[in-house]
Every structure is written in C-alpha cells, then in structure tokens.
Symmetry: C2
Subunit: 156 residues, 2 copies
DNA sequence: CTTGAAAAGAACTGCCT
DNA sequence: AGGCAGTTCTTTTCAAG
C-alpha cells in the first residue's frame, strides 16, 4: 500500500468528480507542473487506487424515469442457489447493480424502468418468478446525492 | 429527446464501461471513422445523455475495507426535517451516497469505514445521534456487480 | 456518411535539478 | 520527489467527396 499525501488526495477527489480534467489543469490548481501531476496520476493508476474512468449516463434522458431499490431475501441459500440467483438476476437487462450483502436481506438490487407500470412488469415477470426467491422489499428513488467519500485517515 | 440508433447505444455502453477509450478506437469497433464517432459522442454529451466522466476509486486500497448500506426511517418528517437530515448526513465524511426513497425507509445511505470497529464508531457517534432519526437497518456489503443497465426499448 | 488534413491540446518520455 | 523541453497521440475542427 503506497503512501499518499494531501495532493494525491486532492487529485483523487477532483478526478472522482470529473475525470475529464487534464493533468495540466489539475496541476495548476495545486501548484504542480503538468508532468509532475501526470506522474502522480499514473502512480495512482498503477497502484490500483484509480481503477478506471466511467461515463455517467442520465437514465431519465434515456427514457428510464423510475429507479427502484430491492431488498431481496432468499428462501433457500446454499452455495448453489446464491450463484444461481446471481446469474439469473444479472440476466435481467433492467438490473443495474447486484450487491450481495449481510444482514436483514441477502441481496440489494438496483433496477431501472420506464415508469411504474414498466417496473411492475419487471417485478412480476422477472423478479418474483426467480427460483428460491423469498421476501422482497422495494424503495422507489426520489433523489440522490453522491459524494467523493473519505480519503484521508478520518480522525479518531 | 433525440433519436438514438444501435451504434449510439453501443457507444454509451462502451463508454460507461471504460471512458478512456478514444473516439478513433471506439469507431473502429463499430465500423465508423474517428470524426463520425466523435460527432456522435459530442451529440450524446450535448443532449445531456452523457452527463460526465468520473474516476472510479478502490475504497479497499484506500484503507476502507467495509461498506455498509443503511436504511433509515425518520421519526419526524416535515419538509424542514428532511432538509436538516440531508444536510447533516451529507456532512459525515464516510457517507458516499444519500438516496431519498419512498417505501419502508425514508433514506438509503452508503457508508464506508476502515473496518467494522470504525463503522461502529460512525454509526454510534455520527448516525444515531442525528436529530429526528428513527429506525436504522444495516447491510454489510460482501460483493458487488455493476452492469451498464438497459439502453434500448426493452421488448414488452 | 466517408477520407484526409491541419491545428490545438493533452499525454508521455528523458534529462536535469 | 519536481521542472523543462520535446515527441507522440488524441481531440477538435475543417474541407471535399
């Protein structure tokens, strides 16, 4: 695990907000030259801390106005049924994320749909028909805010 | 809302997986020239479908080995308390996403911590002490899979 | 839509402090 | 480590078919 200073943290924070910024522009903000900034970014990539860059799509503009979070409890959980479930749920196109979790539920799933009627179709025809499915709880997304998350040591 | 063809969808899918690909390289994969591909990407950006590009960080490599999803039910929900809650929860550095939802819970929150002991500290000192907080449910992330999500019309 | 080309900028390299 | 200078690549824009 490599050592990161404040500038590294600032670069990570800036890039996690907007990855289109050039090394030169980022460097100017922190008093570094373009090559120095670029070498730091390269180092963060090589260390695996910067995993990649993804384009962020607007689901609403693509016609998917409804986002629903499902909490799913399996009726039967052997090792086989976990993998079966993951394979089956991942095959549903409307599913954006599948999170295997520990707690009240076994899986947390993010689903998008054109509207509530479309979501009901997905829920009834694709989700509820899955083998081994138990309790399902749903929450409809109203609004969402993302933050960079912590980077520094967070004082104890 | 602009019209998108299969190539547009393929470009969105490719960029949402890896936004570092050049227009030239992407075009080659889909039988388009570099300027044609670039114009399509530009069009998708101007339409707001491509909202931006974000760097993906590895929380574990940054020393945050624990991710927990909280389902939070407020005890008192007036318009004021919703905004108060959002302001307060957003001020916690360990909080990555705050989702206002409709259903069994009022908010869904993604929290990262160094380990479970660190998470307990955040939960007890930062979350449970928030004004107006009601029931809190927690799920610890074991593994996560992300998919591009649907783009096309999804046959009915 | 294509190809070709040109200008700007960003990414990358090697050398030096 | 960081800066400077130079090279290579991509981006961005153009003209012409």
């Amino acid at each position: 695990m490599i050592e990161l200073d404040d500038i590294d943290h600032a670069l990570l924070r800036a890039l996690s907000r907007d990855a289109t910024q050039s090394a030169g522009a980022l460097g100017k903000l922190h008093g570094l030259s373009q090559p120095a900034t670029w070498r730091r970014i390269r180092r963060l990539q090589d260390a695996g801390i910067l995993k990649g860059r993804r384009a962020i799509l607007d689901a609403e503009k693509l016609g998917f106005g409804v986002t629903v979070f499902l909490g799913i409890k399996l009726a039967t959980k052997g090792r086989v049924s976990l993998e079966d479930f993951e394979r089956a749920i991942s095959a549903i196109p409307e599913v954006q994320t599948v999170e295997h979790v520990l707690g009240l539920y076994d899986y947390r799933v993010r689903v998008v749909a054109r509207d509530l009627a479309d979501f009901e179709r997905v829920l009834r025809r694709r989700i509820m028909t899955m083998p081994g499915i138990g309790d399902v709880e749903a929450n409809v997304l109203l609004s969402e805010e993302r933050r960079p998350g912590p980077l520094r040591g967070v004082a104890s």
